[in-house]
């Protein structure tokens, strides 16, 4: 190694350390993430813009994946015990409660069945029509389904909240942790909604 090359390597090494420290000082000069999150609270408009941006960016890949998913649907029927108290927790029907702490979704739909309107947009997007039929959409957290997995899982669960009434809930998990559920709509309609998600 020539002296010039050695000097360049040494200079780069020292410059790297200085630059690392300079960046650390820059970051330390800012208030902490927690403080800034309090000082600059989220708004619905910000959530809407960010989730729309995220979905727009990755939506094209998702649409292709959903088209493949429905071409080779793998249905899985799970029958939970009646009265076992496993609610499925999509708050459809009398007495059910929504799980707490779910993040607000930012899902853009290309298809909503006629007559349905958005009636709630807190932890879930809930759509209902005048006849009381409902479906709900949420983005699941954690490990409900692997991101990018290539299948749809469909569950039928008897309604356990009101054990004397035989109501089946269809739960459709699609691709990247989006879950669509309904006690009132059939799987074909739910599939159409899922396919339309941008």
């Amino acid at each position: 190694m020539t002296e010039r090359e050695r000097n360049e390597k040494l200079f780069d090494a020292i410059l790297k350390v200085a630059a690392e420290e300079a960046l650390r000082e820059e970051i330390d000069a800012m208030p902490s993430c927690e403080e800034l999150n309090k000082m600059y609270p989220r708004s619905k408009s910000l959530d809407k813009k960010v989730y729309a941006a995220i979905n727009r960016k990755f939506g094209a890949a998702r649409r292709k994946r959903i088209a493949r998913i429905f071409a080779k649907i793998a249905a899985c029927f799970i029958f939970a015990a009646i009265g076992a108290g496993i609610s499925g927790a999509f708050f459809l029907g009398v007495g059910s409660r929504a799980p707490e702490g779910e993040p607000q979704t930012g899902i853009a739909f290309g298809y909503i069945p006629q007559g349905f309107e958005l009636v709630a947009a807190q932890e879930y997007y809930t759509f209902a029509d005048d006849d009381g039929r409902r479906f709900a959409v949420r983005r699941a957290s954690g490990d409900v389904i692997e991101a990018g997995s290539d299948y749809v899982r469909v569950e039928f669960r008897p309604q356990s909240i009101v054990p004397d009434i035989d109501i089946s809930e269809i739960t459709m998990e699609v691709g990247e942790n989006i879950i669509i559920s309904s006690f009132s709509l059939d799987s074909e309609t739910l599939s159409k909604i899922a396919e339309s998600i941008k």
Binding site: E8, A19, A22, I27, E34, L36
Partner: protein
């Protein structure tokens, strides 16, 4: 992952964007645009340290906010002039001086005076980001990122030589 990044750093991103744009609605637009620009590189941040994560996101949103500001004020973009660029050698004397506290502090001060478009590349590169990732964050090409890094090195060398004379 994207949602986790958003939920952790939304305040940081708004803080940076609003300090440049002075308008909440435009700052929100800049934050959402930054997510588009960062793209899938954001998902790689899960292995980065908190400092590295925050730095990458901060630089990305700063760049977008400045673009918005420049468009608002109709300022011209920074012209990349690499034609007169020439590499220079660093002397052994200067190197030895950098190993002493005073020389090292002088080096850090020079790094802080780098123009933003060079400094951001140098800082991100020194903290482990590839030129591909830097290009995404700053909205530039990979070759531009490499050129800016080279220019940053030369800028620092020349300033050091000037101080040493």
């Amino acid at each position: 992952m994207l949602e986790q990044i958003y939920e952790k750093y939304y305040g940081t991103m708004l803080y940076i964007a609003e300090n440049i744009l002075y308008d909440r609605a435009t700052a929100e637009d800049a934050v959402s645009e930054a997510f588009i620009k960062m793209g899938r590189h954001v998902e790689k941040l899960q292995d980065a340290s908190p400092y590295q994560q925050r730095a990458y996101i901060a630089k990305a949103v700063k760049t977008v906010a400045l673009d918005f500001y420049n468009k608002q004020t109709r300022r011209n973009e920074i012209e990349e002039d690499f034609e007169n660029f020439s590499a220079s050698d660093i002397s052994t004397d200067i190197l030895w001086s950098l190993l002493r506290k005073e020389g090292y502090e002088a080096l850090k001060a020079i790094v802080q005076t780098l123009p933003d478009h060079m400094k951001d590349v140098l800082l991100l590169h020194a903290n482990g980001y590839s030129h591909d990732e830097i290009a995404k964050a700053l909205g530039i090409s990979v070759s531009n990122s490499k050129k800016r890094l080279s220019r940053a090195r030369e800028f620092v060398k020349k300033r050091l030589a000037g101080k040493h004379d």
